[in-house]
C-alpha cells in the first residue's frame, strides 16, 4: 500500500519544502520508491531545493491538460534513482487546478510509488485544498513561534474536517539554547498545545541554508549535520521504527561529539 502524505503548515516559510525534499530523499536512500509533488502552483520551489530546476520540462499542469504523459512530467533524480519530482507549473495560478484533478493525478502516482509526498503551499485557500485533496496522511510543520503554532492549529482542524485523520507534528527550527533560557517554547510546550502526535524535531541549523544553496538535500551530504540526522530519524519513525528524539538539551560542542559517534567517528 502506498502512502500519500501532504506536508502542510498554514504559515509560510516554516520549512515545508525543506522537509519534503529531505524526507523524500532519505526514504529513497532507504530503497523506497518516492514521488515528491510540488503543489505550490505559481511559486514552485521544490525543484530548486532538490537541484533539479534545469531538468524540468513538463509540469503537473501539462500532464493534466493532456499535453504530455504523466511519466514525461516526472523528473528523475540522477543521484538517487528511487526519487522523482512532479514539478508545479510556474506560470499558472493556484486556481488553474481543482481538488478532483489533484486526486486523479495522485491516484496514478500512488500505483507506482511507495510514498507520495505533497508539498503544500502556505495558506488555507485553494492551493491548500488541492494539496490535501488526495492525502490520507498529513505532516503539519511548525516552528516554536506563536503565529506558526496558531496557524498549525487551524490547519489541524481543517485536515480533520476534510477527513485527513492521520496527522503528525514536525517541529522545525528549534533552538535548544533559547529553550534553556526560557525564551522559546520547548517541544513539550508545542506538543501540549497542539495535542497531536509528534513525528520529530528538526533543530535550527545553518547547514540547511548551505544545502539549499547547493540544491543538495542535507540527508545526501557526506558530512553529517544535526538537522540531517534529525530528518533521518523522522524517516525511520515513518517506517515504523521507534527512535528516540535527539537530545538537544546541551551545548553545540557535544552535538559534534554525538554526530561523530553516530557515524562511528572518523
Amino acid at each position: 500500500m502506498s502512502r500519500v502524505i501532504v506536508i502542510t503548515s498554514g504559515k509560510g516559510g516554516v520549512g515545508k519544502t525543506t522537509s519534503t525534499a529531505n524526507l523524500g530523499m532519505a526514504l529513497a536512500k532507504r530503497g523506497r520508491r518516492v514521488a515528491v509533488v510540488d503543489a505550490d502552483f505559481g511559486l514552485r520551489n521544490l525543484d530548486l531545493l532538490l537541484g533539479l530546476e534545469n531538468r524540468v520540462i513538463y509540469t503537473a499542469a501539462e500532464a493534466l491538460a493532456g499535453e504530455c504523459r504523466l511519466e514525461q512530467a516526472l523528473v528523475k533524480d540522477k543521484r538517487q534513482p528511487n526519487l522523482v519530482l512532479l514539478p508545479a507549473a510556474q506560470n499558472r495560478t493556484k486556481d488553474s487546478i481543482t481538488p478532483d484533478q489533484m486526486k486523479k493525478l495522485m491516484g496514478v502516482l500512488a500505483t507506482k510509488f511507495d510514498y507520495v509526498f505533497i508539498d503544500s503551499p502556505a495558506g488555507i485557500e485553494m492551493g491548500f485544498r488541492n494539496a490535501i485533496a488526495a492525502a490520507t496522511e498529513a505532516i503539519v510543520v511548525t516552528t516554536p513561534e506563536i503565529a506558526a503554532v496558531r496557524d498549525a492549529d487551524r490547519v489541524v482542524g481543517l485536515l480533520e474536517a476534510h477527513t485527513v485523520h492521520n496527522t503528525h507534528l514536525l517541529i522545525n527550527r528549534l533552538r535548544p539554547l533559547m529553550v534553556a533560557a526560557n525564551d522559546m517554547m520547548s517541544v513539550e510546550d508545542v506538543q501540549e498545545i497542539l495535542a497531536i502526535p509528534l513525528l520529530g524535531v528538526i533543530p535550527d541549523d545553518e547547514r540547511v541554508i548551505v544545502s539549499t544553496n547547493r540544491g543538495e538535500p542535507l540527508v545526501l551530504s557526506e558530512t553529517p549535520s544535526i538537522a540531517g540526522i534529525a530528518y533521518d530519524n523522522v524517516v525511520r519513525r515513518l517506517e515504523g521504527e521507534t527512535v528516540e528524539l535527539l537530545d538537544f538539551s546541551v551545548n553545540s560542542d557535544s552535538w559534534v561529539g554525538r554526530i561523530k559517534k553516530f557515524f562511528g567517528s572518523k
Binding site: E145, I146, V149, R150, D153, R154, V156, G157, V179, N182, D183, M184, M185, S186, D189, I193, A195, I196
Partner: protein, 114 residues
C-alpha cells in the same frame, strides 16, 4: 525575614519570573480556545441566557456563583457551567414547550419500541 519575603514573593510574583516562554504559552492557550470554538460572544451569551431560563424553571439559582465558560483540552472544547442551586422549586408547574404526543391508534411502532 525570609518567611515574610517568601510570602510577599508568592503574593506578588515579580515580573521577571514571567519568562517570554511562559507568556507565549499563555497567549496561545487563550487565542486557541477562541479559534477552536468559533462561537461568537453574542451567541455564547444567548446560549447562556437560554440555559439559565430553562434551569430556572426547576430550581432557584444562586446568581452570585454562576459560572459559564468554554474550555479547551486535548482538542476537545467543553462548555463548563457551574450553576449553584439555592432551592428546588416544588410549587411551579412546569409547562413543557411541546405538548405530549397523543398516541395514535393503529401506530404499532410506539408499542413495538416499548
Amino acid at each position: 525575614m525570609t518567611i515574610i519575603n517568601d510570602l510577599l514573593e508568592r503574593l506578588f510574583p515579580r515580573n521577571e519570573s514571567h519568562t517570554s516562554r511562559d507568556e507565549v504559552k499563555l497567549r496561545l492557550q487563550q487565542i486557541l480556545a477562541q479559534d477552536r470554538t468559533d462561537l461568537p460572544p453574542d451567541k455564547l451569551e444567548a446560549l447562556r441566557n437560554e440555559i439559565l431560563s430553562i434551569v430556572s424553571q426547576y430550581v432557584e439559582l444562586d446568581s452570585e456563583g454562576l459560572q459559564f465558560s468554554l474550555q479547551c483540552n486535548q482538542r476537545v472544547t467543553s462548555l463548563i457551567a457551574n450553576l449553584p442551586i439555592r432551592r428546588v422549586k416544588h410549587d411551579t408547574i412546569v409547562s413543557s414547550p411541546t405538548p405530549e404526543p397523543q398516541p395514535q391508534l393503529g401506530n404499532t411502532s410506539i408499542t413495538d419500541a416499548l
